[in-house]
Amino acid sequence: MKTLVWVEHEGGAIKDATLSAITAASKLGEVHLLVAGEGIGAVADAAAKIAGVGKVHVADGAAYGHALPENVAPLIVDLMGHHDAFLAPATANGKNIAPRVAALLDVMQISEILSVESEDSFTRPTYAGNAIATVQSSDAKKIITVRGTAFEKAAREGGSGTIEAVSGAGDAGLSSFVGAEISKSERPELTSAKIIVSGGRALQNSENFHSVIEPLADKLGAGVGASRAAVDAGYVPNDYQVGQTGKIVAPEVYIAVGISGAIQHLAGMKDSKTIIAINKDEDAPIFQVADIGLVADLFKAVPELTEKL
């Protein structure tokens, strides 16, 4: 089987989630990549070095600069003439592009797979991860998005893929990129952080969130996450949200501070290796999944913890 993986990159670097998608693809067959973007020679070179990669198709042009699905999907549809499966990381961009490709090919997409069971069957989470379905696809071609935390990352070095330029139709003339407000942070990115400290509604406001959660995260070299309630209330930006509809994380250690543990939040973090919860309510549902729980007022406990570490 020949697979095609869409490579997500930013600032010239290939994102980790793509490396997980490549591992998933390698379980199906030969791995080819598509790198699309503007001025992406270096990304293409880096892609060709990823272990196990065969051909790297490169579409370089202004129309592909911001991963607009209206422009990128047709490129993929063309390449699917000689591939049997398409895989994209289940990131915001991957989720935006893959279903558009699937519908153009008249295929039912298999979303956020957790495992490859055979050439045509896969497991995937449904109902906020409370039910894991094993599904078998009868479509001739498979269109798949891959949950990053469920697959090891392919090695960035060791491959010797060949680079091939593809020319697509360019700008479909339907959409254009206006701008972006991307959060800048020195801290590790949530989806690849080894330790995450997350804060919930209990933090009460943005000042508290910064003065209580961040020093602990800095002490541990941790990434910072949040519950939906904390994001909705404006304590932190949207990209901090962990959960069914936010980011899916599985760090070595996840520290939930003042988070009750709603199923939608658990869906995003319950595959963490060790879960630590600090909550003043001993009956909070978060304690049902926590390996280590501390029943305490966070405003006392967290500064004390930060100091004693």
Binding site: A92, P99, Q244
Partner: protein, 249 residues
């Protein structure tokens, strides 16, 4: 312009889903069902566009069992003008739903279709993007802000690193994220009024769409269970645990 809002009847978000003992699916017998939360946000957005004079008519559509009528009545009570129910007693996959919606788009020619980004039962996150593909329209997914300006719509999107804004030519497809708005509750008089708003019933066959599933569910199982661990008495004990784990020096 007309706005089309697809709404799905799903398990209520407050209910903890239970996998059936025989591994065939999730037990929905006697479980509270509601409108998919993202679709409530979609209906609300459509109503706000009508209140601003941008939208002229709001059409709600659902594909599902007869009981999905209730979901459509909720949309009508919130402020939709009329509704279409496409009855299917068996589950229709996102691809089938998108094909049916594409037929309605052809008939009704809405300037915007606003869907939820994801149904909280199948967690597919694909119907809107598929509909955009099938109708050849641009898509603004995971929207946290929607601004119609002449024949374009500016959509601010929640992406992994923060926010991104795209400009789409209308007609266009939008899918909602959580922070787009806060949906209103339907008032009692509006619930009463909704009972007499038009709701037509169709079948997939009326649209000539084959909705045979492409995915076969072989098995549904519970995720590996996490069991509750220990409770520590105080911060000192927590520090000791963290040190033992090698997390802190």
């Amino acid at each position: 312009m007309k706005v089309l809002v697809p709404v799905k009847r799903v398990i209520d978000y407050n209910v903890k889903p239970r996998v059936k003992m025989d591994g065939t699916g999730v037990d929905l017998a006697n479980v509270k069902m509601s409108m998919n939360p993202f679709d409530e946000i979609a209906v609300e957005e459509a109503i706000r566009l009508k209140e601003k004079g941008v939208a002229t008519e709001i059409i709600a559509v659902s594909i599902g069992e007869q009981k999905a009528q209730e979901t459509l009545r909720t949309a009508l009570a919130m402020g939709a003008d009329r509704a279409i129910l496409i009855v299917s007693e068996t589950e229709v996959e996102p691809l089938g739903v998108a094909k049916l919606l594409a037929k309605i788009v052809e008939e009704e020619a809405p300037g915007l279709v606003i869907l939820g980004k994801q149904a909280i039962d199948d967690d597919s996150n694909q119907t809107g993007q598929m509909l955009a593909a099938l109708t050849g329209r641009p898509q603004g997914t995971f929207a946290s802000k929607v601004e119609v300006e002449g024949d374009t719509v500016k959509v601010t999107r929640e992406v992994d690193g923060g926010l991104e804004t795209v400009s789409l030519k209308t007609p266009a497809i939008v899918t909602t994220d959580l922070r787009l708005n806060e949906p209103r509750y339907a008032s009692l008089p509006n619930i009463m009024k909704a009972k007499s708003k038009p709701l037509v019933q169709k079948t997939p066959a009326d649209y000539g769409v084959d909705v045979t599933p492409r995915l076969k569910t072989l098995k549904v199982s519970e995720p590996p269970k996490r069991s509750a661990g220990i409770k520590v008495a105080d911060v000192d004990e927590l520090v000791a645990k963290l040190k033992a784990m090698g997390v802190a020096a």
